[in-house]
């Protein structure tokens, strides 16, 4: 069964047409890598998957329900099941790391403050962030902010995770930690869309890769059968021949 199905997705910003019929699907536990040049509209698709953007035309099915017709209130139910990992972490800068992680739990769970406390400390340890719970986002490094963002996104144990450039700008150590975390979630059956420019990470964590160009998915293939010839656009993108 498809968890996510995107059909003929079209989106324009003013006179600029970004998508002109994007179609793809995802099965449970699958990780789809969405690659493409800067400005190809990868993040717009990702944002549309949880209703942060509305498509001009086309449909987005989440468990066979067309969410493009949903209003903000109905989308909240979808968003409880889907985690979005923002490029820069998007941490609430007026809150400590602890409160950032507690935010979704306080909103959507019936846990007591003691249980929330325990859960957050465990989550921070899992993400290698133990001891930082009282710090504020401004005092964290970029890599740590991303990891806190990830920890916050994962704390509600989502069924689907959407990664927007999760490894961009990170050092090899932090990149590897994030790859390991994506693989760990994958082994638990979590479905993911991994938007990235970072091809080594995409190859390490994705089952399939879709290449977005000129507003459509130009090529899609499984990672284990990735063509190594110049006829493949994905291969050309990997070796820097096209943007």
């Amino acid at each position: 069964m498809d968890i996510i199905r995107v059909l003929s997705f079209e989106k324009s910003f003013g006179p600029k047409r970004v998508h002109s019929g994007v179609t793809f699907h995802l099965k449970k536990g699958e990780v789809l890598g969405l690659i493409g040049g800067s400005g190809a509209g990868k993040s717009v698709i990702l944002r549309s998957l949880i209703g942060l953007e509305k498509p001009d035309r086309g449909q987005i099915f989440f468990y066979d329900r067309d969410i493009t017709r949903y209003n903000e209130r109905e989308l909240i139910e979808i968003r409880k099941k889907v985690a979005y990992v923002f490029q820069g972490g998007a941490l609430f800068d007026s809150m400590s790391v602890f409160d950032n992680l507690a935010y979704p739990l306080r909103e959507h769970s019936s846990l007591t403050e003691d249980e929330i406390h325990m859960k957050i400390l465990r989550q921070l340890d899992d993400f290698g962030l133990g001891g930082n719970e009282n710090l504020f986002p401004a005092s964290l490094s970029g890599g740590m902010q991303k990891r806190v963002g990830l920890a916050r996104a994962m704390i509600m144990e989502p069924e689907v995770v959407l990664y927007d450039e999760a490894t961009a700008g990170l050092d090899p150590y932090n990149t590897k930690r994030i790859q390991e975390m994506v693989l760990r979630l994958k082994s638990r059956g979590v479905t993911s869309v991994f938007v990235t420019h970072d091809m080594p990470s995409a190859l390490a964590v994705c089952d399939r890769i879709a290449f977005l160009m000129d507003g459509i998915i130009k090529e899609e293939c499984r990672v284990d059968s990735l063509p190594q010839t110049n006829e493949s656009l994905i291969y050309q993108f990997m070796i820097g021949e096209i943007k």
């Binding site: 944002r47 490029q87 998007a90 979704p104 959507h108």
Partner: protein
């Protein structure tokens, strides 16, 4: 030249209607979500502290200065016609019905409106507003409603203080500079200012508060163009709410006046 002019006015009209539509939608969303659970009471209290308590000094200084200057100007002006004794009446009525509410609102528009727009705008450009939505919560409930309620709660209270401080300032100037007996001055104020005068002035501040906070949130939520965008949105927010306060003041005065005559 003509084409450029047409384009300029075309853009101006588009922006005006965009603003009008955006404000209407935001107001509708605020009203709709206001009556749905949850209401973040703690956030409202926090904002009352930020908006109300921390604006006290600014409103205090503005009101004191206004009252003192008005007493001085009317005193010297009316002295020529032997009308110095009317200063307490004129000044008190002007402050309570007009200047107290309007000046306090303009000060709040500058301080609080700018603060809200820059704060919400920064949250928008750093995707914190998107994060609020992505985490299954509503920015209207979390960000807009607490600020709107806090402003609606704080501005009338600040106006009460502004009125009192303004009148007290005029009393000091009246007794020290115009040689009016403080007792007489106070008595005249009590005889002149009635409850309905006070209510007319205060009534306007609820509308002004809504204008300030919704305009500020609208510009904050619609920031584009990074940190530079935050700056220009903040300026636009203050200018727009100041203009809206001054324009709506006329219509509200007229409305309250009709209402007063009717009752």
């Amino acid at each position: 030249m003509i084409r450029q002019g047409a384009l300029y006015f075309g853009e101006l009209f588009t922006r005006f209607f965009e603003f009008l539509g955006g404000m209407t939608l935001l107001t509708r969303n605020v009203l709709r979500e206001l009556f749905h659970k949850p209401l973040y009471f703690r956030l409202v209290v926090e904002q009352i502290y930020q908006i109300g308590s921390r604006s006290f000094i600014l409103v205090f200084v503005t009101a004191a200065s206004t009252g003192m200057v008005m007493a001085l100007q009317f005193g010297f002006g009316l002295e020529k016609f032997g009308g110095k004794l009317y200063v307490p009446k004129i000044v008190a009525l002007s402050i309570v019905r007009e200047l107290g509410p309007v000046f306090a609102s303009l000060m709040i528009a500058a301080r609080v409106g700018a603060g809200i727009t820059s704060e919400v705008g920064s949250m928008t450009v750093t995707q914190q507003i998107d994060a609020i939505r992505a985490l299954g919560t509503s920015p209207i409930k979390k960000i807009v409603i607490p600020r709107v309620l806090a402003t609606i709660f704080s501005l009338p209270l600040l106006t009460v203080i502004a009125n009192a401080v303004g009148i007290f300032g005029s009393l000091i100037v009246g007794s020290t500079e115009l040689d009016l007996d403080p007792k007489y001055y106070f008595q005249k104020i009590i005889q002149t200012v009635f409850l309905n005068d006070y209510l007319v002035g205060m009534g306007k501040t609820f509308f002004f508060a809504a204008i300030i906070s919704i305009t500020a949130c609208y510009y904050g939520l619609n920031v584009s163009g990074g940190t530079q965008g935050v700056g220009s949105s903040t300026t636009r927010s203050v200018v727009t709410s100041s203009i809206l306060i001054l324009i709506s003041d006329f219509f509200l005065t007229k409305l309250f006046w009709i209402f007063e005559k009717w009752t």
